[in-house]
């Protein structure tokens, strides 16, 4: 019995890319699902309308692209973004569904691991284009967010080649150029530009504590209320080993006791 990462292959029906949508607005949810399915390239997983469903989905399946609304009825979609990152890592690419696009919120999502933003008011072909970019290792970017990223980048004291490359790209995008125009101006293919944008997103992503499978298993058992002795029995190790695992996990989570560690792990989406 394992409480760690589930197998990603379970329930896979076809070779189509699998898209998960977590969105509480029914009309929009229907609209985007239809748009995605009608393209014939994607398999849309059963849509979720709130956090618990989203968690349940992520715990068992690895979507290739996860589209999340941040303002869900029972909490922030950020949790799901973090959870997807912890559970499935780079195999699952996450993007945010947004109406107004307040940059502060969006940058939080980027820090949590989101790789793009889809505006709900954009026409469906824009959504499809964005999803296509996401699943091919690229990222969409619009002027407002590029401006916000530029602002944060300028605050960093960095002059590396990567920093200059990012800055040049963000300057152009924030000045209103589309990625296609940027490609022409810089003499690259659109795909190259899209990948560069993805790298810019990566730069703003905060690291998550990387627990080993044993540590993760222990934390989720402790989260269910088991004592260390019970955990040791379940995991088939000695109690002192579980203590060692837990102290290592505390250290990685930056916590000094069990309560703090469980809180941090929950916030990072490691446990639910």
């Amino acid at each position: 019995m394992s409480y760690a990462r589930p197998s990603p292959g379970r329930g896979r029906k076809s070779s189509l890319l699998r898209i998960a949508v977590v969105e509480d607005h029914p009309a929009f949810r229907r609209g985007i699902c239809e748009a995605l399915e009608s393209s014939g390239r994607y398999e849309v997983l059963p849509p979720c309308d709130d956090l618990p469903e989203g968690r349940e989905l992520l715990a068992h399946q690895c979507p290739d692209v996860l589209l999340v609304d941040l303002g869900l009825p029972t909490g922030s979609g950020l949790t799901l973004i973090r959870m997807a990152r912890v559970y499935w890592g780079a195999r699952c690419t996450t993007a945010v569904l947004s109406v107004t696009g307040t940059e502060i919120k969006l940058m939080e999502a980027v820090a949590a691991g989101a790789k793009g933003v889809l505006f709900k008011s954009d026409p469906p072909q824009d959504w499809l284009r964005a999803v296509q970019m996401l699943e091919t290792g690229q990222s969409p970017l619009h002027a407002g967010m590029a401006g916000a990223m530029l602002h944060m980048l300028d605050a960093r004291e960095d002059t590396s080649a990567r920093w200059r490359e990012s800055r040049e790209l963000l300057l152009l995008v924030s000045a209103g150029y589309t990625l296609a125009e940027v490609a022409i101006r810089t003499g690259q293919t659109e795909e190259e530009v899209g990948r560069r944008v993805r790298r810019v997103y990566d730069q703003f992503q905060h690291p998550v504590p990387e627990l080993s499978p044993r540590e993760l298993e222990l934390m989720s058992l402790l989260n269910r209320g088991f004592t260390f002795k019970q955990c040791a029995e379940i995991m088939g190790v000695s109690e002192s080993t579980t203590k060692t695992h837990s102290s290592r996990a505390y250290e990685k989570l930056g916590a000094s006791n069990l309560q703090m560690a469980l809180y941090e792990a929950r916030m990072a989406g490691l446990i639910s």
């Binding site: 696009g101 709900k120 000045a175 125009e181």
Partner: protein, 640 residues
């Protein structure tokens, strides 16, 4: 922090001090009473010599110097010429009233014949004790032989009791004292007894004559050091200087208890002059100090006293050859001056009695009394057995002065404490006031910002959504909207919504950001209208100086693009923005119909645009030729 001792109230602390003082004072008092008052003086174990016989020997007119005096003392008298007269002890010839004393005044030697009483025989070695001898160096003769003379410290013998060991079996003892006739002499009570008792009785007497005066001198030096230290630290306060000078001059006077100038005649005379003048200064300084403490404003009296002290010091210098009598006269003048000062102080204290004033008056009066006592009994040689009491008076004065000073300091500290408390209270009050005002200002500021934010958002909603909504509604009502157009209108509204409120969130946006935002807003619209957008923007345009500028630019650009979409019938629109010689140029050009600016301006929002351009301090140029498109150009000063 927890104090190491329990904190006492002021009252309890005072009680504790009193009890502690009592615990020390009581055993001391019992001890003193037991040792000094209950035990009889050693003097009473000696036999007093009440009746003596005297003879005055004529010496001619020699000058008294160490060498001549030595000769006189060691020369035996003409034994045959002795004519004895009965006399009682103490035997004195008072100081003459004459101030003038020539060095060759007639000199005499007084001889006292003492019979050793029968009852002291058989008690071993006998000794002679004299309370005080004033005049030239004394000499003791027994059986026609000089036994002992006081040539080594006769200059201060008036303050050292006489003590001589008698040869065994001595029956008749002669005591000789040379003197100048106008100055006279004094021989105090004489006692005979066993030598050990004489020794201890001498120590007893010497304590009163000498040791006590030395102790008082130490007090004066201590006070002087303390006062000068304070005077250095607070030079603006004259009381410390006055007290320090007082201690200094009294210390000079007290040098007579530490140094003996016998054998150095010139030094001895000058030393005597310094000692006596210093007493004058002590008195004057004490009175001025009391005036200063009590705040008695009598500048003329003060000056007069200082002038008096200076003149009397000058007049009694040995160079005038007035010698001892002038000094004595000086002391009588001192008494007069002291009395005047004391009178003024007393008058003041009577009118405004304060604890310090009363204490000082009492102390100074005591000192004056003791000074007169000393002057009347000892200085004029009337009562050689008397006690030299003036130093005691000075001690009392100093103790009172110290009490006054410490009380003054304590009161000053108390006042400073009260003042500080008052200031602190006032400061606290002001701080509370300031904090309240600060809170009020903050609240007002928050309210102001909320209001202005609210207004901005409302303005945005009105400007951006309101007009679009209204026109959509009107068009929908009139039924002219196709499904396509409805989508377009709603798309516009949704796009606008994305940007509402951002202008408040970020106050200073760069021109690039404004342009980027503009593109996002209009791209759907243009795409829908089949108009190709060509974007040619310098990505590093300068930031806008303020929010209003950004809003004006945004509004003007929106209007310009809207005009193209609505009226131009263009298939291509080009937006250019670049920097040139410190200016920023934004150009919107199209390939549409064009128009005659002179005729159609009013209908296309152009007056409003010109107003905005003027408000920015920029220039707006519109070039259009019918059928060849329009160029709309805005020129802004960089950073403006």
């Amino acid at each position: 922090m927890k104090p190491a001792w329990p904190v006492l109230s002021a009252e309890a602390a005072r009680r504790t001090v009193w009890w502690a003082a009592l615990l020390v004072a009581l055993p001391l008092a019992v001890f003193s009473w037991w040792t000094y008052l209950q035990f009889p003086s050693r003097l009473q174990q000696l036999t007093p010599l009440k009746q003596v016989q005297v003879w005055h020997e004529e010496l001619g007119q020699p000058v008294f110097r160490q060498d001549t005096v030595t000769g006189i003392v060691r020369t035996p008298p003409d034994w045959a010429a002795m004519r004895w007269q009965p006399a009682a002890l103490p035997y004195v010839k008072e100081l003459g009233a004459s101030v003038d004393l020539p060095p060759d005044a007639p000199k005499r030697r007084v001889w006292l014949r003492l019979a050793v009483p029968e009852q002291v025989a058989g008690q071993g070695r006998l000794g002679l004790l004299g309370t005080r001898v004033m005049g030239g160096p004394w000499a003791i003769w027994v059986d026609g032989q000089l036994q002992q003379a006081n040539l080594s410290d006769w200059r201060i013998q008036w303050n050292v009791p006489l003590r001589v060991a008698l040869p065994l079996g001595a029956r008749e003892v002669l005591l000789a004292v040379p003197y100048a006739d106008p100055q006279g002499f004094a021989v105090g009570s004489l006692y005979v007894g066993p030598m050990d008792v004489v020794d201890t009785a001498w120590r007893e007497r010497n304590f009163l004559h000498f040791e006590m005066a030395r102790l008082m001198a130490a007090v004066a030096i201590l006070m002087m050091v303390l006062s000068f230290q304070l005077a250095l630290m607070r030079p603006q306060e004259p009381v410390f200087k006055l007290l320090g000078i007082n201690g200094l001059v009294w210390s000079i006077s007290c040098m007579q208890y530490f140094f003996d100038s016998t054998g150095q005649d010139a030094l001895s005379v000058w030393f005597g002059s310094a000692v006596d003048s210093s007493i004058t200064w002590t008195v004057v300084m004490a009175v001025i100090f009391a005036f200063e403490i009590e705040g008695i404003a009598v500048p003329w009296l003060r000056s007069a006293m200082v002038v008096y002290a200076a003149i009397s010091t000058m007049l009694t210098l040995p160079m005038w050859d007035w010698q001892k009598n002038a000094l004595i006269a000086q002391h009588y003048f001192n008494v007069a001056v002291f009395a005047v000062g004391l009178g003024v102080l007393g008058w003041h204290v009577l009118r405004r009695p304060r604890r310090e004033g009363v204490a000082m008056f009492a102390a100074l009066a005591t000192q004056l009394g003791l000074g007169i006592h000393t002057l009347e009994n000892l200085t004029n040689q009337r009562d050689p057995d008397s006690f030299f009491s003036f130093p005691m008076g000075t001690l009392v004065m100093y103790l009172v002065f110290m009490y006054v000073m410490s009380r003054r300091s304590v009161l000053a500290i108390d006042a400073a404490g009260r003042h500080e408390q008052e200031l602190r209270a006032r400061l606290d009050e002001q701080e509370r006031h300031l904090a309240a005002q600060h809170a009020l200002l903050q609240r007002l500021e928050v309210e102001r910002r909320l209001t202005s934010q609210h207004e901005t958002i409302m303005q945005d909603l009105h400007d951006r959504l309101g007009s679009n909504l209204t026109s959509a509604l009107l068009q929908a009502r009139s039924g002219v909207l196709s499904a396509q157009e409805t989508v377009l209108l709603l798309q516009d509204l949704a796009d606008e919504l994305r940007h509402i409120g951002k202008s408040t969130a970020q106050d200073s946006r760069s021109l690039n950001q404004i342009l980027g935002e503009l593109r996002q807003r209009v791209q759907h619209r243009l795409a829908h209208g089949g108009i190709a957008l060509e974007w040619d923007v310098d990505p590093e345009l300068p930031p806008m100086s303020d929010r209003e500028t950004g809003q004006h630019v945004r509004a003007m650009l929106s209007e310009a693009v809207a005009n193209v979409v609505k009226h131009a019938g263009a298939t291509r629109i080009r937006l250019r923005a670049w920097q040139e010689a410190g200016r920023v140029l934004i150009e919107v050009s199209d390939n549409g119909n064009g128009f005659d600016p002179a005729t159609v301006e009013a209908g296309r929002g152009l007056p409003g645009m010109r107003q905005r351009a003027a408000a920015l301090g920029g220039e707006l140029a519109i070039e259009s030729v019918a059928g060849q498109g329009t160029v709309w150009r805005l020129l802004l000063l960089s950073g403006g």
